[in-house]
Point group: C2
């Protein structure tokens, strides 16, 4: 009989936490017992898991006794303070926050790209930033076949990346014109700044992309913005490969890459859109074009569901690889 | 006494046409008589100009008798067929469509960039594409001072660029969830294709940028998308200059350029947004950063009101230069 696991979801009432619970169900993850953890104010909330109503419990130092795997998505304070508590209870943490991602002894994993890193974990495995996940899968496919020199990317990120509070704000602004001033409706905003020049989202994409692709010399230029779209991030990318490649070769390499759906027929109006990727677990790639302004240049347009492949699905795919390797 | 002109607005009931009328008022353009022209189905519509109600008349072969200047924004069919009619009546046409823009003997003008071209006209002066206008003003400032080698740009274009019909569709979709499938609400779409690889908007930006900047060897990589935002286009640009420039020099060059407002203080949340540029006639530039992934690389983020500076204001600024040169 296959082993079943005791799984905790930390931050179970948040947008990513709820998506994690849904995806554990959908993928029939082998669960013996599920524990839903959150802060004190969520205690008493009940969330359906399969045919059961599960009561949310308060996260505390004893939460991880007898838990095999904990999926964290409750902010960096919780990740920093409670991931070590979980590890001390022999629980393996898959953390969706940014706190652990760049630590040298923490694997930062996209299962289609660097699954071999999972076994190096010392209790914590980090789930990358949402926009980074969808960025590195096509880049990895191209890196393997042609090598990568430089990538210029501009993102088109959805509001769900800012959590339920962000979505609520957007919905209020749609309904009430008076709340629209200096806001997200009919507007484009940047993420908070990391320094005087770059936003924290841009810095995450620089660092995490290089770590996941194991290419510290990869030249990157990244601009990240938030749009008034509920869900699914998009990326416009101009890539300089290390060797010549014609567009048919590039398209075939991307088609063969696990985790990618190529949607690329502009003349018939077929290209990746947020509406195409919403609710899906693959990364959609299209607008594959030669960029003759650079040596070995190509263009890509990439969309993915940021709550699913950009967060919850990727974390659970890591968990699946983890238990299959045990 | 200063001369006053008889001015016709062709396409007077459209989104750009109505903006042209508003801007003629705002700028106190020296008008003797204004004539509002449109297709048959708009005849009888009345539009206010200053304190008068002006009845829209049907465009026909006699429309331009005694007209000095005609501002066209009624689609390419009208531009192609009626601009020569106007010219034959000794009327000077400033055309907002794409039909005449690339003709060798038609000046394509952004007054902050190449006003000297206006005097070369043979009756028709072309107003560039909306996203091109806001793109070339900062590029021109940098070209003069440092030279330009390559620009990678991704646009974030508003729905008003698709006219009143586009805006109506968006408003319907906000109100009625049932109309949202395969649409612009919560979505990102591309413009119609020009060939199998590029959209017509991308092709316009390639060709018009090079013509306006008089630099046919400028390397360009452009991706154009339409977002669910009512008004003001944005552009994320990565620029390779021909010589080294530090960011303070770049910022000063942009600050000194007529037509530009620099809004660049990320740490205090100051950067160009659609909400900042709506209703304004300047081009807003910010997120000015060194791009160390390229030799002499910089980043810019550019926004402008596409109905005003991207269309109506630019056309009327051309008309102002034209009459001042007479």
């Amino acid at each position: 009989m296959n082993k079943k696991y005791n799984v905790a979801v930390v931050g179970a009432t948040g947008l990513v936490g709820r998506t994690m619970i849904k995806i554990l169900e959908e993928r029939n993850f082998p669960i013996n017992n599920i524990k839903l953890l959150a802060s004190k104010r969520s205690v008493g909330t009940k969330i359906n898991y399969l045919d059961n109503e599960v009561a949310v419990e308060e996260l505390n130092d004893n939460s991880f006794e007898n838990i095999d795997i904990a999926l964290f998505s409750a902010g960096n304070y919780v990740s920093e303070n409670f991931a070590p508590v979980a590890v001390a209870s022999n629980c393996i943490v898959i953390d969706n926050g940014s706190f652990w991602r760049l630590k040298p002894d923490v694997p930062l994993v996209v299962p289609e790209v660097n699954p071999e890193r999972i076994k190096e974990h010392k209790g914590i495995i980090a789930n990358p930033n949402c926009s980074t996940i969808q960025f590195v899968i096509p880049l990895y496919a191209l890196q393997k076949k042609f090598g990568l020199k430089r990538v210029v990317a501009s993102t088109y990120q959805a509001i769900s990346g800012a959590g339920q509070a962000g979505l609520n704000k957007f919905h209020n602004e749609i309904q009430d014109k008076n709340t629209r001033t200096f806001s997200i409706f009919n507007n484009i905003v940047f993420h908070p700044n990391a320094d005087t020049c770059f936003t924290n989202e841009e810095v995450k994409m620089f660092n995490e992309t290089r770590k996941i692709l194991s290419q510290q010399d990869l030249k990157l230029a990244i601009t990240c913005v938030r749009l008034p779209i509920e869900n699914s991030h998009s990326i416009s990318a101009n890539i300089e490969l290390s060797m010549p490649a014609n567009i048919e070769e590039v398209r075939n390499v991307l088609k063969k890459q696990s985790g990618i759906v190529v949607a690329d027929d502009l003349a018939n109006g077929v290209y990746p859109t947020p509406q195409m990727s919403n609710g899906r677990d693959e990364v959609f790639v299209g607008r594959i074009r030669q960029d003759d302004s650079a040596e070995n240049g190509i263009y890509l347009w990439i969309t993915a569901d940021n709550l699913r492949k950009g967060a919850a699905t990727n974390a659970i795919q890591i968990a699946e690889k983890l238990i299959n390797k045990k």
